[in-house]
Subunit: 291 residues, 2 copies
């Protein structure tokens, strides 16, 4: 086990997970704090990392973020409505305080890296990680490289067909009835008047949820063809969702994607995170190793 | 100019374009023949290439094809209904006859490579090439690598929302009203009763076409974030389609993708092929250079 320690931050909209560990994914110490105004949160982050000697830091952050290394605002969170975090120069602040190289990615790209290195996609050269929680976000690694171009993907906002009997207008402030607008945790809560966790027994809730998620997965498969699809986030804590999503994906594809992973072994293709709730923080340690 | 000659084949469902040229994209000699049964077409291909000394061959082929190098059927066309071409071992046949290394990709991945090297995406490290013709197919290069995983993408078959006033049921034998089902050349012809080329003046035809194409482009942007989108194929010969598609993309994104390429300079983002109808054959020469 390597004795060189690195730091990782999984910076979520609700909470920050900070860890000191190794690039082999092992964690030495961990801290979880709520995401408040940066003036409150960031000093606690400094304090945590200053207790250890780390050689690099990896950050998987809520977004949107600027991950274009040629941009003057590289390493910042950009247009978030969260007080204090708009245009926040995250990488610059951490570099200045800790004086180590910093790797920076979206939270979901970080989780995809973690799952590739030590989780459900271990040994593969591609995977897609989708979180279905307060928002919906996806990150993909293809041929070993994080998929990014003009910017990072925003795959939670793709278009979906409305279910003909679904009268809910949608929760996305930008697009109303995009995937996130129809299938995020808050969309479930607004449509049915109860939180997802209280709706476990309601069959029609999860059939409708699977109807939307499967459409998205079909499009991801047809556009990227990743070797594994990993579904995480609070909403996916409903285990009955997995078989419903898989069945809908096969129905929609109608045998068009004629590979055994999709046609025959779909239980091993669309899966939960191998690292459970640790995908993001382990991914941040992996990012530190690449910084 | 390099004196080493390479060969390229753009193997389409309608015609084969064969060329001898150089990996800098220059073409020395070219031959176009219809795609008949392989017993008729392939001997003509041999004859053409045997006239020149080539050091490598690149093939961009109609599909679906097996591009998985670990597969026993690597280099073959798989499940096409075209007589004689199902399970056709294209690479093996060409290697045996010409005894040179052979690069093999889908036609659209080849075109994307050609446009990256010498066309509209020159100097960039990512682009997406979409052909809208008899079928709809897309290929993407991200961070310099062709996007492929389980298999090659099949982005022409993604789901789209039907226009509420569009009664046409859709032409895709697998999915009926997927993108290809609603927006390919044959879909236009079946919906309106005339070929696309004869409908130039019919505003509503192209508004509906742009409605579907823009949905697909929005999903490609949100999932891949390519640095350039190149639209080719017979249907895109209607120049009025470009501004309609661009406008619909911006409307659907509703400023969510806040990068100047999409928000401000979309005329330079969604474009025609820089190589015109040569994208595919030039891409095949590029593939030969990588073989
Ligand atoms: N067991 C559960 N079943 C269904 N939905 C849940 C469950 N747990 C949390 N959620 C929903 O998931 C969302 C929170 O997602 P989560 O991934 O935990 O956090 P975040 O997305 O904020 O990082 C909330 O909308 C919540 O209602
Ligand atoms: N000028 C045009 N305007 C509209 N549609 C066209 C035009 N030219 C060809 N098409 C349509 O495009 C399809 C052929 O696409 P093309 O890209 O030329 O070939 P293929 O896809 O077979 O390689 C046909 O359905 C045809 O009707
Ligand atoms: Zn949205
Ligand atoms: Zn289809």
């Amino acid at each position: 086990m390597s004795e060189v320690l690195v730091g990782g931050i999984e910076a979520g909209g609700t909470k920050f997970v900070c860890a000191v560990g190794r690039t082999d994914g092992t964690i030495e110490e961990r801290m979880v704090i709520p995401t408040l105004h940066p003036e409150e949160t960031i000093p606690k982050v400094f304090e945590f990392f200053k207790k250890h000697e780390i050689s690099a830091l990896g950050i998987g952050s809520f977004g949107p973020v600027d991950i274009n290394k040629d941009s003057p605002t590289y390493g910042s969170i950009t247009t978030t409505p969260k007080p204090g975090w708009g245009n926040y120069p995250f990488v610059a602040v951490m570099k200045e305080a800790l004086d180590v190289p910093v790797g920076f990615q979206t939270d979901v790209n970080g989780a995809a890296l973690g799952e590739m290195a030590f989780g459900a996609a271990k040994g593969l050269d591609s995977c897609l990680y989708l979180t279905v929680g307060t928002g919906i976000g996806g990150g993909a690694v293809m041929s070993g490289e994080i998929v990014q171009g003009l910017s990072h993907p925003e795959m939670g906002h793709i278009l979906v067909k409305r279910h003909p009997e679904d009268a809910y207008q949608g929760a996305c402030p930008y697009h109303r009835d995009c995937l996130e607008g129809m299938a995020s945790g808050p969309a479930i809560e607004k449509r049915w008047g109860k939180k997802g966790a209280e709706l476990s027994g309601e069959k029609e809730v999860w059939e409708l949820e699977a109807y939307y998620l499967a459409q998205a997965l079909v499009n991801y498969i047809l556009i990227l063809s990743p070797k594994k699809i990993i579904l995480g986030g609070g909403v996916m804590k409903q285990p009955q969702l997995f078989p419903l999503v898989r069945k809908n994906v096969q129905t929609l594809l109608n045998n068009y994607v004629n590979v055994s992973e999709v046609a025959e072994n779909i239980e091993n293709y669309i899966v939960s995170p191998g690292l459970g709730d640790n995908a993001g923080i382990v991914g941040a340690l992996v990012l530190a190793g690449k910084a």
